[in-house]
């Protein structure tokens, strides 16, 4: 089976290991993820603050390209990309005039026929039904599943999981043999918007997340978003200095954790690329 694949910028750069693990898990289940040709920026960071039309035109072009390539479903692992693409689909779907002006701008047709799947939806639909028999090394650890902001909000548009107390990652990790813990910071802000401009704010915000995970005995934090990951992992020094202690709980992408449970090679899953050593 072949699904469309929109990696976005993060998965080509700072979170290459997310892409590696997504592709590795997909391959283990004979799913071919075919990259959308000539894809462009989803406009996540700046565009939607600067220019509404541009912020819709960018993702609309990606959706149009996916349509042209004949994809019915595309997988979008980055939570920010997923949010932009889904919001765009929603906005264009409800406003024909907007749709006309946006498609005019990019010169491509747009029918809205492509379904956008985040990583949890992709795993739920194509991996978990066959997961039970494939788990060779149950991920037997206490895990804190961290959803961040963009995966579940705004609920009115995404209609995915519960926005205040989401459960989908927890359910997935349970199937991979882990023990998800009940904790308070599932959807609290990691500070991604300030990652470059005010790194010490990130230390404080992400510090609270890592601090609570540690207090409740988590052995790993599971994420499904490159920004969450880079803040909780790459900014660990800032976090540690905020907390005044050295915390070495690793942060894994959901696909890395599932890959380990499937018995995939650690290097294939890109585990060596993390700043906090993955000891689990």
């Amino acid at each position: 089976m072949t699904l469309g694949f929109y990696p976005g910028c993060s998965l080509k750069g700072s979170s290459r290991e997310y892409a590696e693990s997504v592709l590795a898990v997909a391959k283990a289940f004979d799913i071919i993820l075919e990259e959308i040709e000539d894809w462009n920026c989803c406009g996540a960071t700046a565009a939607h603050n600067m220019n509404k039309e541009l912020s819709l035109a960018l993702p609309a072009r990606i959706l149009s390209l996916a349509e042209r390539q004949g994809f019915k479903e595309i997988v979008v692992p980055c939570a920010a990309c997923y949010s932009r693409l889904t919001v765009t689909k929603h906005e264009l779907g409800k406003d024909p005039a907007l749709k006309a002006s946006v498609t005019d701008a990019n010169g491509l047709g747009y029918s809205g026929s492509v379904s956008v799947l985040n990583i949890v939806q992709m795993l739920d639909k194509y991996v978990t039904p066959n997961l039970a028999g494939r788990v060779v090394n149950p991920f037997d650890h206490k895990v804190a599943c961290y959803y961040g902001c963009l995966l579940v909000r705004p609920h009115e548009i995404l209609k995915f999981d519960r926005e205040e107390d989401p459960q989908s990652l927890d359910a997935l990790m349970l199937k991979a043999g882990a023990t998800p813990i009940d904790w308070a910071f599932k959807t609290e802000c990691c500070g991604a918007g300030l990652s470059v401009s005010r790194t010490n704010s990130v230390g404080r915000l992400s510090g609270k997340i890592i601090g609570d995970a540690k207090d409740r005995g988590a052995e790993a934090v599971i994420v499904a978003c490159p920004m969450c990951h880079s803040n909780l992992d790459m900014r660990r020094d800032a976090i540690n200095s905020y907390l005044g202690e050295k915390i070495d709980i690793p942060v894994l992408y959901i696909t890395q954790a599932i890959g380990l449970a499937l018995g995939l090679d650690r290097k294939t899953l890109g585990l060596q690329r993390h700043f906090v050593k993955v000891s689990v």
Partner: protein, 667 residues
Amino acid sequence: MSKIGVFVCHCGENISATVDCAKVAETAGKYDGVAFSVDYKYMCSDPGQSLIKSAIKEKGLTGVVVASCSPRMHEPTFRKACAEAGLNPFMCEMANLREHCSWVHEKGEATTEKAIDLVRILVEKVKYNHSLNEIKVPVTKTALVIGGGIAGIQASLDIANTGHKVILIEKDPSIGGHMSQLSETFPTLDCSQCILTPRMVEVAQHPNITLYTYAELESLEGFIGNFKAKIRRKSKSIDEKLCTGCGQCTTKCPVKKIPSEFNEGLGKRTAIYVPFPQAVPNKPVIDRKNCTYYIKGKCKVCEIVCPTGAIRFDQEDQIMEVEIGAIVIATGFTIKQPDFFPEYGYGKYADVITGLQFERLASASGPTLGEIRRPSDGKVPEKIVFLACAGSRDPAKGIPYCSKICCMYIAKHAMLYQHKVHGGKSYVFYMDIRAGGKQYEEFVRRAIEDDGVNYIRGRVSRIYEKNGKLIVNGVDTLLNAMPVEIEADMVVLATAGVANEGAEELAQKLHISYDPYKFFAEAHPKLKPVETNTAGIFLAGACQAPRDIPESVAMASGAAVKVAGLFSQDELTREPIIAVVNRQAPPVYSSCVGCFLCVSACPYQAIEKEEIKNRNGEVIKSVAKVNPGLCQGCGTCVAFCRTKSIDIQGYTHEQMYTEVMALLNEY
């Protein structure tokens, strides 16, 4: 030959500004059968009415058309004037020149033409009007009050004190409602039970009130003045006549750990129980879901210890039928529980409680005897946070309305906490302080200024537990949206007041309407606040919208006056605008063929079968017959009737056809 009078009103300038009233009157005067036509500035005024009356007498008018405002406004006025002049009031019709014409069109010939059309169709209609007489129905002078909270208690007492009988039913084992759970009441801080329990006793002892606790409405039929209600008296499993309320059974019952409803789960009760010491009646009931005997088939400790042999394990629910003339609904409200709020822990944290639970903690009769102690470990909280608008005014939670009572009771809670825990710190997160009411604002200022409660204007995004503390993350919008984090020992959520579970079914049983939030709908938001759209059924208290005690009481007294007004008459008169099935001379008897489609179509069960018999008592024909007491004149049966055998009096097929033809046939 008809002699019709046409009276065109200017309504000051309301009509005459856009309609040429003189021309309307002049044109109408030329129609066949019109004996008199005139225009006048204010037809509803005394001289205007005199004009109509004298015309009727002098010209011997057989019909009247008043061309003025909406019949909703002045139909009763003009019909009364006609009656006073000796004309049957149903020979008077109104052409609505104001709402239907002058107010909605520009000045011009077309507008006047339309006014002329409106008058003409009614002139033609009135030629086919018949004299009709008002229908008299008897009144059963007993009221049913549903719900024994403060609103139901007040309504019952007020009706009973006018000398009429009241049947009060309450679903719980005791009357008292939410008010009996409260500690003190705002804005005077007088003890809730102290002012309520005398009223409860008065209800029980009043010779005109029959109280049924542990009872619910099963079904209702009938109409104003003549309702028939079925009441289910749930089995209490005791013989109330024998029980002395000595309390032996409740002391000895071995099942002691059932969360007490009265204490909002903060205290425990037994399986045979009296909800609280001041309960009325002060006699126990057995909670069959939790009683060992009903679960396992043995125990019967209560039966053994009962000195009067009052326990009845095999008692069954009783269905009782009562006849009543009016109903007051006072079923109250409920609140959202903390498990409605994922961001506040979905009810996971024992020390995140509701306002009602705080009332029980602060109450001298509560589980802590009035000491503020947190439920988890019994410690006195040093820091306490109150959250206003938990769910209320939050469209994302489906509750866009203001629950109204919370601002005041939070101020009261914080005040009580400061009075009881010296040195304690209390915080209130609020959106706006809504303290509209006599001495309400002063009360809130007292909490803030005299008792030092910290009011923070902002919302709370999350509550979580850390090292035994509840971390409350909020924002202070008066400090430039500065994040606020408070390590609290206890959090009180002022959760939204919502309609009772089952409010919808009750409304359907009673044939009354309700709003999107399942609160019962009043007939008019301003001018008919205690009436429902169903005649003879009234509302009191928080079943209509969130209400505080003074408002509930005022509403209850209002509803009681409406009931007393109804009961002051021996007979009710109703407009004769009802359906009739035609009757003809033998051998046809009626054009009705007896298909009885109308019987199933009638929403009021007002149509029955009638057998037409000959002198020997043999049935010749079965036809439909409308019960004039039940018919509401909706006309559904008319539309269903295949042989056009049913007519609404005053709106017959013939009259409707005439109106249409008058419009189509240009003069």
